[in-house]
């Protein structure tokens, strides 16, 4: 709108300017041609145009102004809106700021709390730090101590290392010795190998011969055993004969036994028959007698009866004797039989054993015979082989030389054995001996190589044995040295060369003596206390006999005594103080009241006045009623009789003791001063 208005304004201004410039030109050009009417027209036109221009100007100015005004208003509105916006925004900012403030305050508070906590934590950590520092110091100390110990341990280690070095040196020396010996042994072995190569075939035959020799030896041993066993044969045969005779004898005894048994059986049967017969006889006789008695009752006479009775008794006795003898004979026969039975059993067992032995012997004999046959066959075979060898080896030309060689070989063997014994003594010079051996005149290659192999084998065995012994001895030596060292450390000594001495009065013996004395003392005390307790329990009271002990007072008693003493002291002091005070008080009373008050008897008070004429003048008061109530009564004394008037007045009428007393004082005082 504004732009449109501006453009209209500008367009109108342009049109106006063009109009003004146009008519100006036109006016100037046409002035002379047309005259005044044209000029007036022109002038009016101009004036109209100017008015129009003025109108246009004012219109444009108005428009401008209105536009300006609108613009102003617009700008106002804009400004206001902006201001309002700004106000809103500022208010929002304010609120935000306020909120932020609050938040910040909260944060500050929280931070302050955190700070406090952090401070506390700091303090705790400081304390922990201090404790840790202390621990550190202690640990440092411990570390220092450990360092010290370490250094000492290092020293010990260095010493031990020195010892190990020494031992290592020793070991090296011995190892060098070993190596030299090994080299020598190797040289010997090489020589042995060289010699062996030449000896292989011989060794083989040699081994075969050896085997055969061994077999032959075994066979000879077997033959010897066989011979010894064969020697035993006649003895065995003798034993067998003896056993057979015993057998026959036993069989006879057996037959005798059987015969005896039959006899005993027969005897028994006879006995039985005899007994039966006897019984029957007796019965028959008894019947006869009975019959005779019944028949001859008349002719009975006592003597006949007695005679018959005696006869019968005699017959009975005889029969009994016969019975007894028969029984005894039976028993003896039975005993003999019983004795014979085990013997028979033994004999039978022996006979069986002998039979077994004989059978074994027979089987052995058979085996021996077979073996003898085999051996004889083998021996024949060997003999044949040897003969064949001899025949093979031997030609008619060489046999004497071989025999000569064999003899020389035997001589060499003996010499070699002697050399070997020398070798056992001199183990370090094997080479010399082998050289000396080599210097021996060569017989024939076979025999020398054979001897060389023997010697080498022997040497080797010896070397091994010596090595083993040496190692063993070394180990023993080490063990013994260790033992010696141990014993030395423990304090062992050789009683032949050393003795151990110490002072008689040494701390250990003194301490032991003191210990023993203490123990003895305590025992005695215990015993005495026990006796005392027994007496107390029996007596029921503390006896002051010889069982009184000087028991040292216990701590309690000492404390109590001390307390007692202190209490007594306190008492003493209190008494003194009390005395002093009471003395003071009494003197004060005496001085102030004029009476000396003494308590003569319980509840009786004697008052003596300052101004008393005689020493004995005193008033006696007795306290009546409960203690502390203060009610007093005057008692009669010589002095009180002289004061009856005052007594009547003050005590009976006025009933006041202080007044009475003061009256008495005044009276006495007046008496004194007047006189």
């Amino acid at each position: 709108m504004d732009d449109m208005e501006d453009t209209t304004i500008f367009s109108t201004l342009k049109s106006f300017k063009s109009l003004i410039s146009g008519p100006d030109h036109s006016l100037l050009e046409t002035e002379p041609a047309y005259g005044r009417s044209d000029l007036q027209k022109l002038y009016t036109k101009r004036v109209e145009l100017e008015e129009a221009a003025e109108r246009v100007r004012s219109h444009t100015s108005l428009l401008q102004l209105t536009q300006e005004k609108q613009q102003m208003e617009l700008s106002h509105k804009r400004a206001r809106i902006e201001l309002e916006k700004e106000a809103h925004s500022s208010s929002r900012d304010l609120q935000r700021e306020i909120d932020r403030n609050r938040e910040l305050l909260l944060k500050i508070r929280r931070l302050e709390e955190k700070e406090e906590k952090a401070n506390q934590a700091l303090n705790e950590q400081m304390e922990n730090n201090k404790a840790l520092k202390r621990n550190l110091e202690e640990l440092h100390k411990k570390a220092n101590e450990k360092d010290r110990k370490l250094t000492e341990a290092d020293q010990m280690i260095s010493e031990l290392k020195d010892e190990t070095r020494r031992l290592n040196q020793k070991i090296q020396i011995q190892e060098s010795k070993f190596s030299t010996q090994n080299l020598e042994i190797q040289a010997l072995q090489e020589q042995l190998d060289v010699q062996r190569k030449y000896e292989l075939p011989c060794t083989q035959t040699h081994t075969e011969l050896e085997r055969r020799l061994a077999l032959q030896e075994q066979d000879s041993v077997i033959v010897r055993n066989m011979k010894s066993e064969m020697v035993r044969l006649p003895e065995l045969e003798r034993e067998i004969k003896r056993l057979r005779e015993e057998n026959a004898f036993l069989r006879e005894t057996k037959e005798n036994n059987s015969l005896l048994k039959e006899e005993t059986e027969g005897l028994r049967k006879k006995l039985e028959r005899v007994e039966r017969v006897m019984e029957e006889k007796l019965k028959a006789e008894l019947e006869k007698e009975v019959n005779s008695y019944t028949h001859t009752e008349d002719s009975l006479t006592l003597s006949d009866l007695s005679r018959e009775v005696i006869q019968i008794q005699q017959r009975e006795l005889n029969l009994k004797q016969q019975n007894y003898t028969l029984n005894s004979s039976i028993r003896s026969v039975e005993k003999a039989r019983a004795e014979l039975l085990p013997e028979i059993a033994q004999m039978r067992a022996k006979a069986q054993e002998e039979q077994k032995k004989r059978e074994n012997q027979d089987s052995l004999v058979r085996r021996m015979q077979k073996r003898v046959l085999l051996l004889t066959k083998e021996r024949d075979g060997m003999r044949a082989i040897l003969e064949s060898y001899d025949s093979e080896l031997a030609t008619s030309e060489y046999s004497p030389q071989l025999m000569f060689r064999v003899k020389e070989a035997e001589d060499m063997l003996q010499k070699v054995q002697a050399h070997n014994t020398e070798m056992e003594v001199r183990t370090t010079l094997p080479i010399m001996h082998t050289k000396s051996f080599l210097q021996i005149p060569a017989l024939g290659q076979e025999m020398t190589f054979y001897l060389y192999t023997c010697m080498c084998l022997f040497f080797r065995q010896k070397i091994e044995e010596l090595e083993a012994e040496r190692q063993r001895l070394e180990e023993q030596n080490n063990i013994l040295e260790m033992r010696l060292e141990r014993h030395n450390l423990q304090g062992d000594y050789d009683p032949v060369k050393t003795k151990v001495i110490h002072l008689q009065m040494n701390p250990t013996s003194i301490a032991k003596q003191q210990h023993a004395d203490e123990v003895e003392q305590l025992r005695l005390e215990c015993q005495l206390l026990r006796d005392r307790i027994r007496k107390i329990e029996a007596g029921g009271g503390v006896t002051t006999d010889d069982t009184t002990l000087i028991i040292p007072p216990s701590q309690e008693i000492l404390d109590l005594r001390k307390q007692m003493e202190s209490a007594e002291l306190k008492n003493q002091r209190l008494k003194e103080v009390f005395q002093k005070k009471i003395q003071e008080f009494r003197t004060a009373c005496y001085v102030l009241t004029g009476y000396q008050i003494d308590i003569t008897v319980e509840n009786q008070y004697r008052l003596t006045s300052v101004y008393a004429e005689h020493m004995e003048d005193s008033l006696l008061f007795k306290s009546t009623g409960p203690v502390g109530s203060g009610s007093m009564q005057l008692l009669e004394t010589d002095f009180s009789r002289t004061l009856t008037g005052l007594v009547d007045l003050h005590l009976f009428h006025q009933k006041s003791i202080p007044v009475f007393l003061s009256a008495v004082t005044i009276e006495l005082f007046s008496r004194q001063t007047v006189t």
Partner: protein
């Protein structure tokens, strides 16, 4: 007079060794607690602080033994000195501190002093005494009341004065032994070792 700066004579060596024993025995008595610690004072010897007893009886006993020992060291007739620690209640030997003495007999004949500096000898003695102190760490505690005795191993034919009597070696039953350092004055060589009764807990 005997300990010349140039070398060590037999007499000087005997004095050095006797001095070492005097301080060594005091150290052992203090470390093992045979006598209460408050009866010991500190003295400086061998450039270190050592303990010496103030108990009069003990002092007199030690001087008695050490003076006799010095004579025998001079005569080269003493072989060992042993400190035996016995438990009073059970009469068992609990510890044995043994010092072997090897004497160069040739020093008796020749009177020429040997070349060895006193400093070196003192250094060695110092290390021995330090080691004695350090052994306390592994020796078992002596919990019961103990007493000690000094034994001397001498040659069999030595004439001993009246106050000395023969005694047994007082060996420990079932002992563990530890060998300690040694020192030498070039005339006398002293090897130290300690044996103690094996405790059952081991």
């Amino acid at each position: 007079m005997s300990k010349t700066l140039k070398g060590i004579t037999l007499k000087g060596s005997a004095e050095l060794v006797a001095e070492f024993f005097s301080f060594g025995i005091n150290s052992i008595l203090y470390q093992r607690g045979i006598y209460p610690a408050e009866t010991f004072t500190r003295v400086t010897q061998y450039d270190m602080s050592l303990h010496l007893t103030t108990d009069a009886k003990l002092k007199s006993y030690l001087t008695n033994v050490i003076s006799q020992l010095k004579e025998w060291l001079f005569d080269c007739t003493v072989q060992k000195l042993v400190v035996v620690i016995t438990c009073l209640e059970t009469n068992e030997v609990l510890e044995r501190w043994q010092f072997d003495i090897e004497c160069e007999k040739t020093a008796k004949e020749s009177s020429a002093p040997r070349e060895k500096s006193i400093k070196a000898i003192q250094e060695e003695i110092r290390s021995v005494i330090r080691q004695i102190t350090a052994t306390v760490t592994f020796l078992p505690l002596l919990e019961t009341a103990c007493a000690f005795d000094l034994l001397i191993y001498t040659d069999k034919d030595l004439e001993v004065p009246e106050q000395w009597e023969e005694s047994g070696p007082q060996l420990i039953d079932q002992s563990e032994e530890v060998r300690l350092r040694s020192f030498t004055t070039s005339i006398h060589k002293v090897n130290s070792m300690v044996a103690y009764k094996r405790t059952n807990s081991m």
